[in-house]
């Protein structure tokens, strides 16, 4: 018993289950394997500490921490890429880029610059005598490697790539060593002097000290190791272990002194200027012969677009190919949106492939840039659109639009020591959405003057550096102010593009604004669309937290000339690779439609060929067998026929297989084998012949919220047949519900529902009526009425099949009966035949033993005791009165003589002893 239960609790392994289970197992296994398998790398990497002789004399040894990536799959010698990291980084910060270059078939050499990480010595700030010379020695090292392709002996085929600190190194190295074949400097400087002392007015006075960036640059605050464009901070660990002066960390003494000088005074002395100049690519641009791809960020308050512009102009002057690309990112904006990253990656690969590897078309020198289109709704990042223009237009654009701003001359106060100060950017935070939009930019009351335009009538595509003409007056004769250009939307929200502002330091100013001469101020280059209806706002502020402003409080007076010049470029949009998804969508829709058509055509059903022999027989069931998925056999084998004019009873105990048989007859269930034919047509789900069958199986099914009448209407509507075919009146008569037919069926009694269901089955007077336990729930007069109805129904050539577990039911209603038990037919035939008198009688006698003796002496076939006082006697033709007379004569009291009938015999013999259904087998 327990074993049986256990077996039942586990589903039987049918074929379908085995297949499905196997499929799932295989899928899971494949997924796990795919997830667990290590990524196959196409390159090998080796870490080495390389000692090179460097320094001004070229004899000072310094140990550099290097990593060399070599493609595994190489035929012959491979070109190389020297990949430099940003300030504060190490060779690990560029590992992603190194790996992707190695994947493209380059040998990549990365190293930690001196003064950082595990490399030796101190930071000399990309000095030609130190860092640049180190890189030259690394070129020698590459030239000595047998795997590297060479132009001539000692001259490896090599490109130099790097961002920020590494970008300047690329430029300086290309200027100092002709062996470099191509360079890709990213977000780097042209002149450290202008980068740290920007001066946006066209005057000779030194600029305003960019104190916050310089502080970050120098500071030894802790910060994680950075990515390509990330923080410029040296890791704390290195700073802590630095030798010598605690104020200098790992900076070389001269660099340290220069910083202390400029941070203290806000103006560089001669030696500082000299040092910054020495570390600037500006000095070597005319010597660069390596084709240069300059990538600069539009959201970069440290090295703005003007730095790349100066580099581009300087290099292009000598005829060296230069290409410029701007992206929406930088030291403030981070790596930018994915589309920009993809574009700069593509441009870099294209540049190196042509100029270093010697593959692919010569890249055009077209200018590409991107503009913020909005937020991504999903990851809250920025979305940019890429544009290109055939040639680099510089910061002046290919066209220009003038916008008039107006406002009176206004006094603005310089706060003492720059506190409190306005806010325009957050140096070092990096990649924040807010800094990209500059919406948090704040100016303090009394410290700024505002000049607004009227709403622009046509959208302006600003690409480049706008200019304004500023007049200023100061009682001290000098003024430090910051000019900014805001895009103000109709709601009044002002946006400062990229957080970029133009610092201006002016001297020799008159005390009275009336005497002031206009000075042209070039604002930082930007990429922005000023939409129709927006206004342009020029703000002149006296303070900014990112800059060092004069310590003494002063009140300046400022005015802006009406004309603001906005450079414009109307670039052609770069096809967004995401557009491909639109075609995918169309493809998917096309495939679905195609699939639908194929399925519809393939499924077009033909009426199964009729079996002519039975074309006029309402129902023929042949060798029907139904086994369910779980292995239970509900119907073993059932054969019977229903002829026209017959009312056939399907008789059997509960679970004998009656309902399953009827389900097959309604096309609800598919037989495992055998078939059922209605007028010669096999019954399959949806077979049109079903329209000639009316049915009630397993109880009524009505929409509870509709009345009985509405239910019949809804049912008939669903048949799609004409209303006059339905014979509603006759059906309603049969249901006999009276006025209740207009009540909701959910309030019906069981019997009412049953009658309504029979009426529904009779709608349209189908030629075969199949009723499952039709008298269930009916009261005796109704049952009697129903019997009459069914007998009448079977006239006119129609036929009725009634299933019941009650013998009397079948006996009184049907002309024919089929008895089933345990899924098999036990008896069938005319009810009269079956019900006709049996040769046996049941006798109730006062003395069973005596009676048996008497009876055995007579001509009877068998005598069987049935209970305490009953005997079942097979009379074998002996008349009943003779038997009774004999018993009475023998002094035995006869209480009852009940003739028995065949059907009952059969039914009880097969069923009666064991009233459990076949379901309990």
């Amino acid at each position: 018993m327990r074993a049986l239960k256990l077996r039942r609790s586990v589903p039987r392994p049918t074929r379908r289950r085995v297949i499905a289970g196997t499929l799932i197992l295989v899928l899971v296994a494949a997924l796990v394997t795919w997830a667990v398998l290590p990524e196959r790398r196409s390159w090998t990497a080796s870490d080495q500490r390389v000692t090179v002789l460097s320094g001004p004399s070229g004899t000072d040894p310094v140990t550099l921490d290097t990593r060399f990536y070599l493609p595994k799959d190489r035929d012959g010698k491979v070109p190389a890429v020297l990949l430099a990291h940003g300030f504060g980084g190490t060779k690990n910060s560029v590992s992603d880029d190194a790996e992707s270059l190695a994947d493209r078939g380059y040998a990549v050499l990365t190293w930690t610059a001196r003064g950082f990480g595990n490399s030796g010595d101190q930071i000399h700030l990309d000095s030609p005598d130190y860092e640049v010379k180190d890189a030259q020695r690394l070129l020698d090292w590459l030239a000595a490697r047998p795997e590297i392709r060479k132009d001539t002996t000692g001259d490896p085929r090599v490109g130099v790539v790097g961002g920020s600190y590494g970008g300047a190194l690329a430029l300086l190295l290309a200027g100092q060593d002709p062996r470099v074949d191509a360079i890709v400097p990213l977000i780097t400087w042209n002149d450290l002097g202008t980068a740290f002392f920007p001066q946006s007015a066209g005057v000779a006075d030194p600029g305003v000290f960019k104190k916050s960036w310089a502080g970050l640059f120098f500071g030894n605050a802790s910060a994680p190791e950075s990515s390509r464009t990330g923080s410029l901070l040296p890791p704390q660990a290195e700073a802590a272990t630095g030798k010598g002066d605690p104020a200098c960390g790992r900076f070389a003494a001269d660099v340290c002194a220069a910083y202390l000088n400029m941070a203290t005074t806000g103006t560089p002395d001669d030696s500082t200027t000299e040092l910054l100049r020495r570390s600037s690519p500006a000095t070597v641009l005319d010597k660069i012969k390596a084709p240069t791809l300059l990538i600069q960020g539009a959201v970069d308050t440290l090295f703005p677009l003007s730095e790349a512009d100066a580099n581009a102009r300087g290099i292009a002057k000598t005829g060296t190919p230069v290409r410029v690309a701007w992206f929406t990112g930088g030291h403030d904006g981070g790596e930018g949106p994915q589309t920009d990253q993809d574009r700069t990656k593509f441009l870099t690969a294209q540049w190196l492939d042509h100029y270093v590897k010697g593959e692919g078309e010569k890249p055009p020198t077209s200018f590409t840039y991107s503009r913020v289109a909005g937020f991504s709704a999903l990851d809250r990042g920025l979305v940019t659109n890429g544009y290109s223009d055939p040639a680099y237009p510089g910061l002046g654009g290919t066209g220009r639009t003038e916008v008039g701003v107006s406002g009176p001359a206004q006094p603005i106060a310089n706060p003492p020591n720059g506190n409190p100060g306005g806010l325009s950017s957050l140096p070092g935070v990096g990649g924040q959405v807010s800094s990209l939009l500059g919406r948090f930019a704040g100016d303090l009351p009394g410290q700024h003057a505002t000049f607004d335009s009227s709403p622009v009538t046509e959208a302006i595509e600003v690409v480049g550096a706008p200019t304004v003409r500023l007049r200023a007056a100061s009682p001290t004769g000098t003024a430090t102010v910051f000019v900014k250009l805001f895009d103000v939307d109709p709601n009044g929200t002002a946006t400062l593009s990229g957080g970029l502002i133009a610092p201006v330091r002016l001297t020799n100013l008159p005390p009275d604004i009336a005497a002031a001469v206009p000075i042209t101020v070039t604002l930082p280059a930007m990429v922005r669309r000023i939409d129709t209806g927006h206004t342009v706002r020029v703000v002149v502020a006296a303070s900014d937290q990112a800059f060092l402003t004069p310590a003494d409080p002063t009140v300046y007076t400022v005015a802006v000339e009406p004309a603001v010049t906005l450079p414009t470029v109307v670039g052609s949009p770069i096809a967004n690779p995401q557009v491909v998804w639109r075609w995918v969508l169309l493809g998917v829709l096309g495939a679905i439609i195609l699939g639908l058509v194929v399925v519809l055509v393939a499924r077009r059903r033909r009426d199964a060929p009729p079996v002519e022999e039975f074309a006029d027989t309402p129902l023929v069931v042949r060798e029907l067998r139904k086994a369910y998925d779980d292995g239970f056999v509900a119907v073993e084998r059932v054969d019977f026929r229903v002829e026209r004019g017959q009312v056939v009873g399907l008789l059997g105990p509960n679970g004998a297989g009656k309902t399953t048989t009827l389900r097959v007859l309604m096309g609800l269930t598919m037989p495992t084998s055998g078939d059922a034919l209605v007028f010669g047509r096999p019954l399959v789900p949806g077979a049109p012949i079903l329209s000639r069958v009316g049915a009630l199986v397993e109880g009524p099914g009505f929409l509870p919220h509709l009345s009985g009448y509405e239910n019949l209407r809804a049912y008939w509507q669903a048949t799609g047949r004409p209303i006059e075919e339905a014979r509603f009146e006759e059906a309603l008569d049969i249901a006999g519900l009276g006025d209740s037919v207009h009540r909701r069926t959910k309030n019906y009694s069981h019997g009412m529902r049953q009658r309504l269901a029979i009426a529904q089955a009779m709608l349209g007077l189908p030629e075969l009526l199949v009723l499952d336990e039709p008298t269930d729930g009916l009261d005796p007069p109704q049952i009697a009425e129903m019997r009459r109805v069914l007998r009448r129904y079977a006239t006119d050539g129609r036929a009725v099949l009634v299933s019941s577990h009650l013998l009397a039911e079948v006996e009184q209603t049907c002309t024919h009966a089929v008895v089933v038990n345990k899924g098999r037919i036990v008896a069938s035939g005319l009810v009269d035949d079956i019900v006709g008198e049996s040769p046996s009688v049941q006798l109730s006698v006062s003395d069973v033993t005596a009676a048996t003796t008497v009876l055995e002496g007579m001509n009877v076939r068998s005598v069987q005791a049935d209970g305490a006082s009953d005997l079942i006697v097979d009379m074998n033709g002996t008349p009943r009165e003779e038997v009774v007379a004999s018993l009475v004569r023998a002094g035995i009291g006869v209480d009852r003589v009940v003739p028995r009938r065949r059907l009952e015999d059969a039914f009880l013999a097969l069923v009666g002893d064991n009233s459990r259904g076949s379901g309990d087998r």
Partner: protein
């Protein structure tokens, strides 16, 4: 010679209008559609009596300001109504229409009588699906239209404002709103597919509706777990918010397109399986 009864044509069984009427008489249909009318009114009342204390609701990031803009005009009010119902209410309503349709017939026992008419099984599913989708779309449009009407009556006809882009003129704003409703309708196909599949697999209408909503919520939760990385792109709910991109100028349609692909694929998958299963199974209820 046709073997069928007079007037019977398989392609004429269960006509669309019959199924529409079957559903139209149900109370749940009245309730669902009625609530679509009621919701904008409730929101309006809330705005009217809600008082002015504005605690900082920065939850939606750059798009959170949709709330602040809700009362700036009829278009914005309609947008807000859609915004607050897209996450849950519309899911439930669509799941209700699509999940209940077959399962409730099975539950009442009327399904077997429809099949014995016989309505071909594929046709039965097809008609039920089309009608359920039509009711879902009606609900969506009812919500939008009511909100637009009520909002315009109360707050006036103004350009569609959003903080992610310039104001959109009212005329174009209506088109944007229609585009958003269209995209929502497409993404809801996913939940419609799931609910319909469950409706075919079970006899319990509540199970089908609740199951679909639960699975949808599960997918939304998984989508919040950024650690899943690019696997999230395959979640049926991943692109549900992509319609916000339609508010910016120019419209960002990349995610919208991907969302449409995802929804259409999922819906097709679910419906294919529903048809496959239903045309083969033994109907025992």
């Amino acid at each position: 010679m046709s073997s069928a009864a007079t007037g019977y044509k398989a392609s004429a069984t269960l006509p669309l209008r019959a199924e529409i009427r079957r559903q139209a008489t149900r109370r749940r249909t009245h309730l669902a559609l009625g609530f679509m009318v009621l919701l904008p009114l409730i929101i309006l009342l809330a705005f009217e009596f809600g008082g002015g204390d504005d605690d900082d609701n920065g939850g939606g990031g750059a798009f959170g300001s949709l709330v602040d803009l809700a009362t700036s005009g009829g278009l914005n009010f309609a947008l807000f109504s859609i915004f607050v119902s897209a996450g849950f209410l519309l899911i439930v309503v669509v799941a209700l229409f699509c999940g209940d349709t077959v399962a409730s017939e099975a539950n009442w026992g009327s399904l077997r009588y429809l099949l014995a008419i016989p309505v071909p099984r594929a046709r039965l599913l097809g008609v039920k699906l089309v009608v359920a989708l039509a009711y879902s779309l009606t609900a969506l449009l009812t919500l939008t239209t009511t909100a637009l009407l009520v909002g315009t009556l109360r707050y006036g006809w103004h350009p569609l404002g959003s903080t992610v882009a310039a104001e959109i003129p009212a005329g174009e704003g209506v088109l944007r709103l229609l585009a958003i409703v269209g995209y929502l309708a497409v993404t809801l196909l996913g939940v419609a597919g799931l609910a319909f599949l469950l409706s075919v697999l079970t006899d319990a209408a509540l199970g089908a509706v609740g199951g679909a909503v639960l699975l949808w919520i599960l997918s939304s939760i998984l989508d919040q777990i950024t650690a899943l990385g690019s696997l999230r792109d395959f979640l049926p709910t991943h692109f549900n918010d992509a319609w916000l991109g339609l508010l910016s100028t120019p419209m960002q349609t990349d995610d919208v397109v991907k969302g449409a692909i995802s929804a259409v694929c999922y819906a097709t998958l679910f419906w294919s399986f529903a048809f496959y299963r239903f045309t083969r199974k033994d109907v025992t209820s």
